[in-house]
Amino acid sequence: MQLLKKIKQGSPGWFLLTAGIILLLLIPNLNIIINLFGKAGENWEHVRDYLLINYFQNSLILVLASGLLAAFLGAGLAWIIAAYDFPGRNFLSWGLILPLAIPPYIGAYVYQGMFSYTGPLQTFLRNDFQLQLSQQYFDFMNIRGAIFIYTIFLFPYVFLMTKAFLSRQSASLLESSRLLGKNDSTIFFKIILPLSRGAVVAGSSLVMMEVLNDYGVVKYFGISTFTTAIFKTWFGMGDLATAVRLAVMAMLVIFVLLFLEKLLRGGRKYSYSTSNIRPLSRRKLKGSKKVLAQFFCYGVFFFGFLLPTIQLLYWSFLSRGGELLGTLNFALTSFLTGGGAAVLILTGAVIVATTARMSSSFISNLLARITILGYSIPGAVIAVGVLLFMLQLDQIFLFLQTGFGIEINLVLSSTLVMLIFAYAVRFMGIAFNSVNSGYQKIGESYFEASRTLGKGVTETFFKIDLPMLKPALMSGFLLIFIEIMKELPLTMILRPFNFDTLATKAFEYASDEMIYRAADLSLVLIFFSTAAIYLITHHRRRKNNAVEN
């Protein structure tokens, strides 16, 4: 009876499926840790003695600086959007999410191209003002440049989380502080920031994970981090064992970060039951304050989205459309891969989340933790783990083939299966969270009503849960779809021969200084991401309005 109580009201099928999925998600990561005890690669000593410190330093500086700056930028903007009203606010409340539509590696080459000696800015200054400035003012290809790129394109994670948090806060909170005579900046620093600390830290840790995951920006700028080092030892030197050791080191950094996050978030959660509070009312801004708020918000929007997009459009215009057929081809690959993988991942996530909901809170927390693990581990590390796993499978197949004469012509380690599996390991957490928050919105009583009306768990799932989950599934699909469209490190490492997505091809062109060609592909990518963000935010908005009416 006690065991039954722990797994509560499930059916064994769901638990078995979930156990299988969880095992698959864990194996690549466990693989890495197990391999740590194997023989060190030939380059390991050299890497350890001369390079490791550098990787640590660079990775940490990038991660911490970007995380911190993004935290302030995102939280500040969220506060302005949540607490004030001014012309343009409605647009900005989703427009400020749009920098997420531009993958940092695209932003990096755009900014580099814009500010380079032959780029538009310097040419303009030279020709029209006879200004020859020292090149160091325009050099983006360094750590400072990378931090700028990460901050301006990733801060929306903090913005989104903080905004969502603030929108759930009670109006009386602000009103009482205002009545106590506090001015707005005091309120921001003394009340809003501490109160929304959890949300800000959560958003900022997403930024940090993304930074650690990034391959494109650092590679393009020539900065050595764990990710580039894993690429180099593996591809450049063919030394998988050393790559594994580096992956473990990167995981250590991650665990320190996760621990810090937990510490900073603090144990206490400040939350209200959502139904009975009066939401924050926005104060109308006038005069210079209005102009200042607009200037700031539009400025960030300009640098994070508008300027790079215009530059790309200009380049694309110069290339006269380039190779339209090639672009369409890569777009199709990205589309099919992203769409197909997203459906698969979402299916897995629905199974896990449904099981989690039928389980005790202990088990469902555990499931949530495990699924999100992959999102916090850099893509290059996951790639190493997945490749190890697939090589093992290949060996098993080979063994079966030679030992028993069974005909299985499967070489997993060079197929799309491997890549999609890796996507699943990395993005299952996002999918799980979407489905799970969908379930939380629905609540338990429909499920229970169906049960008391004589329907089992599985029938209830198909007749009640699934139809009601539709909006959550839709936004989950879009989220994963754009993540996969933008994904670079996993795809670069694990793709089959001659397999190119918009992301990999754009990055390749940009690395080869074929900026015009990269521009076409980047624009297609940004277009899809923007459309997805629009759909997600505006769908939510419509629904919120419907509830309020």
């Binding site: 009876m1 006690q2 009201q9 229970e448």
Partner: protein, 211 residues
């Protein structure tokens, strides 16, 4: 005996202690029983245990002479034939009124099902509402549809959780009257939960105090 609960004990989690402790209850067939007690005294929890939505720590529940929980057995909610009207009614928002009511009787033939849905709508005085959706109904109407849906499969036991909360006085009177009539009409064994003893008196129910 339609329902027999012996020494029922239950905790949502061990740290917070038992919510229900050594609880006993016997309900005869056709009887109407009101569980009365202050908020937080575990009334809803007893209903959930009876319906099979929670698993007891110890004790025994039998429904219509069959063991539902206890003696190392646990009958799943969907096998108990216990109907429950939820506090928030839980009408499936993506299904029409007709499909909501027919949800638990899809083993019947189409014609029988249609006939039964019509009969139930008559019973709750909402003829002609087949094609509406839950969000097009008032609170009182939603409650009656929820009742119709629960009664459709002919449950051994009807559980009503706070059927009269969130209602203004005038509506409450009418709903109490209607509900009373319907229950007596169907003759179904009923346990209702209320924090107001007046409700129990009005429904001519046997009061069981929870503390």
């Amino acid at each position: 005996m339609q329902l027999k609960i012996d020494n029922l004990t239950f905790a949502y989690n061990k740290k917070e202690g038992n919510i229900v402790e050594n609880f006993n209850l016997e309900v005869q067939k056709g009887e109407v029983v009101a569980l009365v007690g202050v908020s937080g005294s575990g009334k809803s929890t007893v209903l959930r245990l009876t319906a099979g939505l929670e698993i007891p720590d110890s004790g025994k529940i039998s429904i219509a002479g069959q063991t539902a929980a206890g003696d190392h057995k646990f009958k799943a909610a969907e096998k108990r034939k216990v109907g429950m009207v939820f506090q928030d009614y839980a009408l499936f928002p993506h299904l029409s009124v007709e499909k909501n009511i027919a949800f638990g009787i899809d083993h019947l033939s189409k014609a029988n099902r249609k006939a039964r849905v019509r009969r139930l709508l008559e019973l709750v005085n909402l003829e002609g509402f087949e094609k509406r959706y839950p969000h097009q109904l008032s609170g009182g109407q939603q409650q009656r549809i929820a009742l119709a849906r629960t009664l459709a499969p002919g449950p051994e036991l009807l559980l009503l959780d706070e059927p009269f909360s969130n209602l203004d006085a005038e509506l409450k009177d009418k709903i109490r009257r209607d509900l009373n009539e319907i229950i007596k009409d169907v003759g179904v064994t009923t346990i209702l939960v209320s924090h107001d003893r007046e409700d129990a008196e009005f429904m001519q129910a046997r009061e069981v105090l929870m503390s």
